[in-house]
């Protein structure tokens, strides 16, 4: 009667390979790629907010930012001018969306991209500026 026996060394080498590759894979996948875009995008967003807060208004109010959020009619009137102004502030390869209590201007925010955000409180609610690379 012949009885086969599992070669123990091969079982060992298989188990050992799985173990070592598992640990190595942990290192390879466990360290995320550095996200170097987000700090720059956050800086762009907060700079845009600071520049809007420093701009003189086109009609009335203390600053451009205050003028935009002061009322729904003022926002409707300033919508295109605001869009142009923010597009001129930001570099060409950066898209933006500005959300105010009365509505939003800019491109709809895409899913799954690195974005930079800045929120500015104003007397009429918060204005959020979201920027991302095109």
């Amino acid at each position: 009667m012949y009885r086969a026996q599992l070669p123990l060394s091969l079982v060992e080498v298989a188990l050992g390979t799985v173990l070592i590759l598992g640990v190595a894979l942990g290192f390879a996948l466990g360290t995320p790629a550095p996200d170097t875009q987000e700090p720059q995008l956050d800086a762009y967003a907060s700079d845009t907010a600071a520049l809007l807060a420093n701009d003189p208004p086109r009609h009335s109010g203390a600053t451009r930012l205050q003028e935009i959020v002061s009322s729904p009619t003022a926002f409707d009137r300033e919508r295109d001018a605001l869009s142009n102004r923010v597009a001129r502030i930001l570099p060409d390869n950066v898209l933006f969306r500005v959300e105010t209590p009365h509505g939003a201007v800019g491109t709809p925010t895409p899913q799954g991209v690195s974005t930079g955000t800045a929120t500015v409180p104003t007397g009429h609610g918060s204005v959020q500026i979201i920027v991302w690379y095109a």
Binding site: Q5, P7, S9, V13, F27, A28, T31, L51, T63, P91
Partner: protein
């Protein structure tokens, strides 16, 4: 790998052989070597030079801050301060600059640097560079007694030279009294204004004022949008 041994009891049993053990050891060693190499590469690849990025971001923050060495207000740089900025000012305001190679560019033009930057990490900030230009306004006050400044300004110089028989007592900026003299204003006066509102100057007087009797000098800010780039190389 398996050899069959005839045993005295007639049972044939498989047994691990020495060559199989050798092969197994060699395989395992190779895999271990590969694994360590992979882990090493992964850790080397995750090296994100945090020092460079941190120093660049901090210096950029400092330069655009409202109380920074260049700024007039937050993100608004003063042209004359930018012109005066050099390496010693950079090292004084951003101490890491004496340790790292730092280059500051405004509108693609290097305004200060410490050391030579070959590669390194860049942080860009969006700023407005503001230069002030003095302008003079000569209002015609013959028929009206109010004049609106065309630009918002933090200060103005009002020069009043009334003809004989005319007295200017009070100058108001948006109903706020900025100059007053019961016996008449005559001469050049500095008045500080609110830069966040459009200013209307109103002259309270008795008698006629001709064009040229009152001149108003004010600062008209000229602003251009630029990019401030800080590059740091370790």
């Amino acid at each position: 790998m398996i050899t069959l041994n005839d045993r005295s009891d007639g049972v044939t049993r498989a047994q691990t052989s020495l060559p199989a053990l050798g092969v197994a050891l060699v395989l395992l060693t190779v895999v271990t070597g590969l694994g360590v190499a992979m882990a090493d590469t992964a850790i080397a690849g995750a090296d994100r030079t945090p020092d460079e990025r941190r120093v660049a971001a901090t210096i950029a923050d400092r330069l655009v801050a409202a109380d920074g060495p260049l700024a007039a207000r937050s993100n608004v740089l003063n042209q004359s301060r930018v012109d005066d900025f050099d390496q010693s000012a950079l090292e004084q305001n951003a101490p890491p600059a004496s340790e790292y190679a730092v280059s500051i560019e405004l509108a693609d033009e290097e305004i200060a640097r410490s050391g030579t930057v070959h590669d390194g990490t860049r942080i860009s900030r969006l700023v407005v560079v503001e230069s002030r230009e003095s302008r003079t306004l000569t209002p015609d006050l013959a028929t009206t007694d109010a004049v609106t400044l065309p630009r918002r300004s933090a200060r103005a110089t009002v020069t009043i030279d009334p003809p004989s028989g005319t007295t200017v007592w009070t100058v108001r900026a948006n109903d706020r009294v900025v100059l007053h003299n019961r016996s008449g204003l005559d001469g050049s006066y500095e008045v500080s204004l609110v830069p966040y509102e459009t200013t209307e100057l109103r002259f309270q007087r008795a008698g006629r004022l001709e064009s040229g009797n009152v001149t108003i000098g004010y600062d008209a800010p000229q602003s251009t949008k630029e990019t401030l780039v800080v590059t740091v190389d370790v």
